[in-house]
């Protein structure tokens, strides 16, 4: 079974971003970039499927600038076999990314596609579901457990009140939630080996995909700041303040 994993290059989760003075976006100059945390979980799940003998080949794909090759090399070091970069310097919407991934799915014909449920920059939570719509495949979003058997996959999903399990016919789309697994770190020998693994670069034009969008970001602002309050000295003082000052008890 061939598994396709999609990964995104995003600002590192430890960075507190700042809005640009002209309100055109957030300032990403000289900021640490990493693989989106949910995408790391997606790579790990694919590697485990290969280790368990369920997957035979892992292809990792990213849509983004040429520097996203760094994140693809990371995925190769973690155990992916080869990489595809769909290079685009523009900021693309989830639908455009889903269309590009659909073109890669058509080319690669994987049985399972694993993506992160959400990127921590745009916070959209759309791409996996959109790819499922475009391919017509079943979708197991927010997965906390993935079990492949025969021509189907059982996906346990994190839902608001607990967990739900669905069975999907393969090929299928899975998006990862936090508890699916704990990603490993790449070892130095594997990082060295990853440099020699194949990495193909494509373009939206070459794939014949239009990345036109119906959304336009008009401006980006800093959120209303919340100022720090006061420190209370005791539980008794806290209760008094909550009752008489904040009036919430």
């Amino acid at each position: 079974m061939k598994v396709l994993v999609a990964v995104k290059r995003v600002v590192d989760y430890n960075v507190k971003v700042r809005v640009k003075a002209d309100n055109s976006g957030v300032d990403l100059a000289n900021v640490k970039m990493s693989m989106n945390p949910f995408c790391e979980i997606a790579v790990e799940e694919a590697v485990r499927l290969k280790e368990n003998g369920k997957a035979t080949e892992i292809v990792v794909v990213s849509v983004g600038p040429s520097t996203a090759q760094e994140q693809l090399r990371t995925a190769l070091a973690l155990g992916a076999d080869r990489a595809v970069l769909v290079e685009s310097a523009e900021e693309l919407t989830s639908l455009a990314v889903a269309k590009l991934l659909k073109a890669v799915v058509d080319k690669e014909q994987p049985q399972l596609v694993i993506l992160g449920k959400q990127a921590i920059d745009s916070d959209n939570n759309q791409t996996g579901q959109m790819l499922a719509a475009l391919t017509g495949y079943g979708q197991g979003t927010f997965a906390s457990k993935v079990e492949v058997s025969g021509d189907s996959v059982a996906v346990t999903r994190e839902i608001d009140g607990g967990a739900q399990t669905v069975s999907l016919k393969l090929p299928a789309i899975v998006t990862t939630d936090l508890r699916l697994n704990e990603p490993r770190y790449a070892s130095l020998p594997n990082i060295m080996k990853a440099k020699k693994k194949p990495l193909e670069v494509l373009t939206p034009d070459a794939l014949g995909v239009s990345t036109a969008s119906t959304n336009k970001t008009v401006k980006v602002q800093a959120p209303a700041a919340r100022s720090a309050g006061i420190k209370v000295k005791s539980v008794a003082e806290l209760v008094e303040k909550l009752k008489n000052e904040a009036k919430v008890l």
Binding site: V19, L95, Q126, Q129, A133, Q139, T141, N215
Partner: protein, 314 residues
């Protein structure tokens, strides 16, 4: 302009998040229709018909929609959105719940439009505000799509009244069964406490709780206050409590009257889930913890002493 709101429900009860979503629709302006897709969901449709401001309820009652699988429900919604002759919808809205997030992007892609996720305000019929980067920036997004597909963050909109409307309920016959997915089962957490996103008071624990058993201190406090209990991602990652208790950027977004953060340091991604709370209390023994920068009332103390004392004094 007619807006379609997708009802959030479990075939029995109309979930409160639907009322916040109808409120967002009312801000956009125009007729508001509500779609109830389910099986044996007549009572939900009747409840939706009573919601203030709703002019029509569409009930798609079919075995294919019993568990609201996106493979079956998305084509239904997309077909309603596209209905020919100008009678289609200008906007399709759903609450940004796990269900809404699961289904709506699939609808948007079928309609070949970009979705706008988790709006927190309506600027005009085509322009909306939404948080990005864990709420560290607010983007204003304009849509040129013929059908605007939007999920609504419930905490951004005060709910409309659940009573007062008298909409007609109309049956939708269309049955879409893609045959690519099936429901196997679900395990829902049983709790007598209020639901996290709807609670007026939330008590949350973090890594400082040390283990899952210690959450009993928070449950005792929550029961005194009639509060829901949440957790930080650190507490969920450490296996103290289940994921459905997680408050944060990738968990639940809450904005209660009172939020009590216990043993929570205040990572960016946790603040994204609770910083719109009216009053924030932080109890942490580390006086440098970032949570104190957003707290209205901070108490630097050992939580294992302070929390039982707080419970006892209420």
């Amino acid at each position: 302009m007619t807006i379609l709101v997708i009802a959030e429900h479990d075939n029995k009860v109309l979930a409160p998040a639907t009322l916040n979503t109808v409120a967002a629709a009312a801000k956009i302006g125009g007729d508001i229709h509500v779609l109830v897709a389910g099986q044996g969901a007549g009572a939900v449709a009747e409840a939706a018909a009573k919601v203030a401001g709703v002019s029509k309820v569409l009930l798609a009652d079919n075995a294919a929609y019993a568990h609201q699988l996106p493979e079956n429900v998305a084509p239904l919604i997309a077909a309603l959105g596209l209905e020919a002759g100008g009678s289609g919808y200008s906007h399709i809205l759903a609450a940004a719940t796990s269900n809404g997030k699961n289904i709506l992007p699939r609808v948007a892609a079928q309609l070949d439009v970009d979705q706008i996720s988790e709006i927190v305000s309506v600027e005009s019929a085509d322009t909306f505000k939404r948080p990005i980067y864990a709420g560290n920036a607010i983007a204003t997004v304009q849509s040129t799509a013929a059908v605007k597909v939007i999920t609504v963050r419930a905490t951004g909109f005060d709910p409309v009244a659940a009573e007062g409307g008298s909409a007609a309920v109309e049956a939708v016959a269309a049955a879409h069964d893609a045959g690519t997915s099936s429901f196997v089962g679900e395990e829902l957490a049983k709790s007598d406490r209020p639901e996290l996103t709807a609670a007026k008071i939330v008590v949350s624990g973090g890594r400082g709780m040390q283990n899952g058993d210690n959450f009993k201190h928070l449950y005792a406090l929550a029961d005194k206050l009639g509060a829901a209990v949440g957790a930080s991602r650190a507490a969920v990652d450490a296996g103290f409590v289940p994921n459905d208790m997680q408050v944060g950027q990738t968990g639940k977004i809450v904005a209660p009257q009172l939020y009590i953060a216990v043993g929570i340091s205040g990572a960016i991604q946790h603040l994204a889930g609770m910083k719109d709370s009216k009053v924030i209390v932080a109890i942490n023994k580390d006086e440098e913890a970032p949570i104190f920068q957003v707290a209205d009332y901070g108490l630097v103390a050992d939580l294992f002493e302070a929390v039982p004392e707080l419970s006892a004094s209420l």
